[in-house]
């Protein structure tokens, strides 16, 4: 067996072991949190562990994510004494959470280094927290076990809102921890606003949950409030993404221009021309940069010309006087006299 195959096999064994371990962890966490149901919801609970299959999916891909979520969910039921197949469509939904998050690698969101990839990741997390539960709730409704109102307020919304919030709160820091989130300037700009938004929304939401638990709010009011806060969050993120992009775009143009100059390309500075039109400090910086680029380009061109054409300058007066000093010496005169004889000796050998 060749070495690459062995390495490949070792890698598969390692990933399987990690996924299995995380699946077990997910199952145990589901069992433990299963005692604290969300208001009005017979089985959905506050479960930050939802990020486990999501993160496994992001790191290792859709299939490991699916297995981690699905098998972990079945394990949770088993520990609770209900057997693994008690709610197979919900187990599939849990698997789909990991699967959808695992699609990140196919959309350029596995490694986040720009606002675009960050937004793509957030959209995937939103889909991972919604689509699987639309599927499971749909099955409940289709089989006639619940009314539409109950399916919406007792199944879908509680799970969707809480899972989305957990995912948005914990996945970006986890990605940062695993160096999958490169804190470039545009990411840095959006992250501060992002965390502030998440924290505010999370506090609002958890407060709502607590208040409802004390019978102050109807569950319809709670989940409508949750939906509204989630919409505020999404709109907030969208606005901050756009504004961060606007703030950082000129800086990125400047960085790209600097990189091109480092590679010796002095033309194609159109990007900088746009920035230099701005009235702020970045505009000033771009116009200074443009001037500098033109100066460097001109200097290099001159140097290139100088280099490729060799110009020899000799001070003939100095050469004559140096030559005279040497040839006027007694030693030189003697040498000159003997030179012919000296050479002839070897010539006649």
């Amino acid at each position: 067996m060749s070495r690459p195959q062995t390495n490949q096999q070792n890698k598969i064994i390692k990933i399987s072991a990690i996924c299995l371990l995380m699946g077990v962890l997910y199952g145990i966490a589901n069992f433990l949190s299963g005692k604290y149901y969300l208001p009005g919801c017979s089985f959905a609970e506050l479960r930050p562990q939802i990020i486990i299959p999501m993160f496994i999916g992001i790191i290792y891909g859709p299939l490991p994510g699916f297995l981690c979520g699905g098998l972990g969910d079945m394990l949770g039921y088993t520990i609770a004494g209900k057997g693994p197949f008690v709610a197979i469509h919900w187990s599939i939904a849990n698997g789909l959470v990991g699967f959808i998050a695992g699609l990140a690698r196919y959309f350029g969101a596995r490694s986040v280094d720009s606002i675009i990839s960050f937004v793509k990741l957030l959209i995937l997390l939103l889909l991972a927290s919604s689509l699987p539960f639309i599927f499971a709730t749909g099955i409940e409704f289709w089989q006639g076990r619940t009314s539409f109102h109950h399916a919406l307020f007792a199944f879908f919304l509680p799970i969707f809102i809480t899972d989305t919030l957990w995912a948005l709160m914990f996945i970006p820091p986890l990605m940062q921890l695993f160096k999958l989130l490169v804190v470039r300037i545009e990411i840095r700009t959006i992250l501060a606003i992002y965390y502030l938004l998440i924290a505010t929304i999370m506090i609002t939401w958890l407060s709502g949950v607590m208040i409802t638990m004390h019978q102050q709010l109807q569950i319809e009011e709670l989940y409508t409030l949750g939906t509204v806060t989630l919409i505020i969050l999404i709109v907030g993120i969208a606005v901050s993404a756009v504004s961060s992009k606007k703030i950082t775009a000129p800086l990125i143009s400047l960085t790209n221009a600097a990189r091109r100059i480092a590679d010796g390309h002095y033309s194609d500075m159109e990007e900088l021309n746009n920035v230099s039109d701005r009235q702020d400090e970045l505009g000033t910086m771009a116009s200074v940069f443009l001037k500098m680029t033109q100066a460097v380009a001109k200097r290099e061109e001159a140097l290139q010309k100088e280099l490729t054409t060799l110009k020899i300058k000799i001070d003939h007066n100095k050469q004559s006087s140096d030559l005279k000093k040497i040839t006027d010496s007694d030693y030189f005169k003697m040498l000159k006299k003997k030179a012919v004889n000296l050479r002839q000796y070897s010539d006649t050998k």
């Binding site: 290139q304 060799l310 050469q319 050479r343």
Partner: protein, 251 residues
């Protein structure tokens, strides 16, 4: 008929010793009996390029000049160390690298005329076809002597402002001494140069033929003067240029 070829440059660091070693190796490969003398007594170095172990060196050019040995006793056969199997012969007379020896010769001086006698004795004793003299940079007495007794002179220069004036002076001196054959090697030329233009410009300025323009080579620098380039990379384009120079110098 033995031929004495002096390799000279006005300034240090032009690649003179390297050129001497490579030319010698090319002549040996062509079956010639070749001797090399390192007359750069103040800063000897060619033995390193040629691969002569300092520990194996007992007698040197210094000892000959002090009258302590015959010139051929200071000659080292390099063929075994370089694993050369062909017909030719390859001898080197190194200068002493011993600091005390260098200090002594600089302090006391020596009879420069002994050098020309020594060269001839070296040629006779080892039946040499070609004697290559690796000189000290500048224009001192022994350099003038080396130039004076040469049948051919190769002036090595770099395309560099610091070299132009000195190279011009060297060529004029050699002309005064009526050296029969004189040619220039432009060494370590940056790749950005137009080589044909340099060659033309130098030969017109000094009214002297240019044998070759050798580019600055990374391989050559990597070898760091610790081996003979022509033996290590026999098919390299630079070696072709050395062969061309070798041919010019004995034509």
């Amino acid at each position: 008929m033995a031929k004495i070829i002096s390799i000279h440059s006005f300034r240090g660091g032009t690649g003179k010793s390297n050129t001497a070693a490579n030319l010698a190796a090319i002549y040996v490969a062509d079956g010639y009996r070749v001797g090399v003398v390192d007359t750069d007594i103040q800063s000897p170095g060619i033995h390193v390029i040629i691969g002569l172990d300092e520990d194996d060196v007992t007698l040197t050019l210094n000892h000959y000049l002090w009258g302590e040995c015959a010139i051929e006793e200071a000659a080292y056969d390099l063929k075994p160390a370089l694993r050369l199997q062909n017909q030719g012969a390859f001898y080197l007379i190194p200068s002493s690298v011993n600091a005390a020896d260098i200090a002594r010769i600089l302090r006391d001086g020596y009879d420069v005329s002994l050098l020309s006698d020594g060269f001839n004795e070296f040629i006779n004793a080892l039946n040499l076809d070609i004697l290559i003299v690796d000189t000290h940079p500048g224009l001192n007495e022994e350099t003038l002597l080396s130039i004076a007794i040469s049948n051919a002179l190769l002036v090595v220069m770099r395309p560099d402002y610091q070299d132009y004036q000195g190279t011009g002076l060297t060529i004029e001196v050699a002309r005064e001494l009526e050296v029969p054959q004189m040619t220039i090697l432009i060494n370590k030329a940056p790749e950005t140069f137009d080589f044909a233009q340099i060659k033309k410009s130098v030969s017109i300025t000094y009214d002297c033929p240019v044998a070759a323009v050798i580019p600055h080579s990374n391989e050559m620098m990597t070898l760091a003067s610790q081996n003979i380039f022509a033996l290590r990379y026999p098919d390299h384009q630079i070696v072709d240029k050395f062969k061309q120079i070798a041919k010019t110098l004995i034509s």
